[in-house]
């Protein structure tokens, strides 16, 4: 019985140390989000205008990995205000990074989209784009951090009409994803 309680104590101490470790705040990480092209598209069979962003994103998350990091859940958030709500947050795309080798991001021409439930994106200003991550440890707390270098954008008031066939196809696919509740992955899009 004595050795069982010894093992229990050791296990408890190890777990407590892991939890303590996840309380340590990492150094700030710089994120570059630019340039960003923001457009508003109307939808024929849906009440929601579609805000579409085309952006470049660059950051290095390697320094965040240590012995107690299982993965990073990385997500790009758009935060904006509307007449109805003082705060709206929408995750535009996400990615799960499991090791240091995948932790350097350099994406060009990433296309993301969102709609507002009260349809107030047209002409909406001071929308803040931030890259954040939830640190999932092997054992411990699950803290969330954001990178420095948030980007502020505005949506134009005028609708953009997709004229070129390729743009119409892309917008059509985006509408399908949006209406089916699919969340874009934070990675290079194929075949644009």
């Amino acid at each position: 019985m004595n050795c069982i309680s010894k093992v229990q104590t050791v296990a408890f101490v190890i777990v407590a140390l892991c939890f303590l470790q996840t309380l340590a705040e990492p150094n700030p990480v710089n994120v570059h989000i630019n340039p960003v092209v923001a457009n508003i598209y109307p939808q024929e069979y849906s009440e929601f205008d579609l805000g579409v962003l085309n952006l470049d994103l660059k950051t290095d998350l390697k320094p965040l990995f240590n012995w107690n990091v299982k993965q990073l859940y990385v997500y790009l958030t758009a935060e904006y205000h509307t007449k109805h709500n003082i705060l709206n947050q929408v995750v535009l795309c996400d990615k799960i990074i499991k090791n240091r080798d995948e932790a350097k991001l350099d994406l060009k021409g990433l296309t993301v989209w969102f709609g507002d439930k009260e349809n107030e994106l047209r002409g909406n200003e001071n929308i803040v784009l931030t890259l954040s991550w939830n640190l999932v440890p092997n054992i411990g707390f699950l803290p969330r951090y954001s990178g420095t270098g948030a980007k502020v954008i505005n949506f134009p008031f005028n609708y953009k009409v997709a004229t070129k066939l390729q743009d119409r196809r892309i917008i059509g696919k985006i509408k399908q994803y949006y209406n089916n509740g699919i969340l874009q992955r934070l990675e290079e899009s194929e075949g644009d």
Binding site: K70, Y75, N88, V91, W133, N134, L183
Partner: protein
Amino acid sequence: MDVKQVHEDFKKMNKRQVYYQILSFGMIVSSTLMIWKGLMVVTGSESPIVVNISGSMEPAFHRGDLLFLTNQEEQVRVGEILAFKIEGRDIPSVHRVIEVHERENGTAIFLTKGDNNNVNDRGLYAPGQVWIQRGDVIGRVKGFLPFVGMVTILMNEYPQFKYTVLAGLGVYVLLDREKY
């Protein structure tokens, strides 16, 4: 402890020792209850420790991981992992918040999605339900411990295992002796 010794101990048990064992058992049960209720008060959650059952939050959480919840007043933000109830389902869901819409008076609605799913949770919500509210939330996942909850899952899925564990615990409690 070998079988012969156990058998002799058993024969030697007198009334006082039986009462003592029952009292010890009562102490264990009541202190466990006190700790659990205390945790409920401190965290503000009706269920401060839960076992993850589904695989929809992989690779972050697997079946059998132990999740620690709090339910403090602060507003919910995207990226947080919520444990919440859906009408019509008895098992709570544990998924990540991907949208927050907050009014000036503080009320807010959320949209969730499992990390392992491509689509958001609207297909899982009750018919006609499009958002989650603060009242549906059991707690927010603040920490976790892998594998430890697997015992609970095994006990639920294999009743014989549960009875064996309970019987074993019962025997241990009755026969364990403080060596003076």
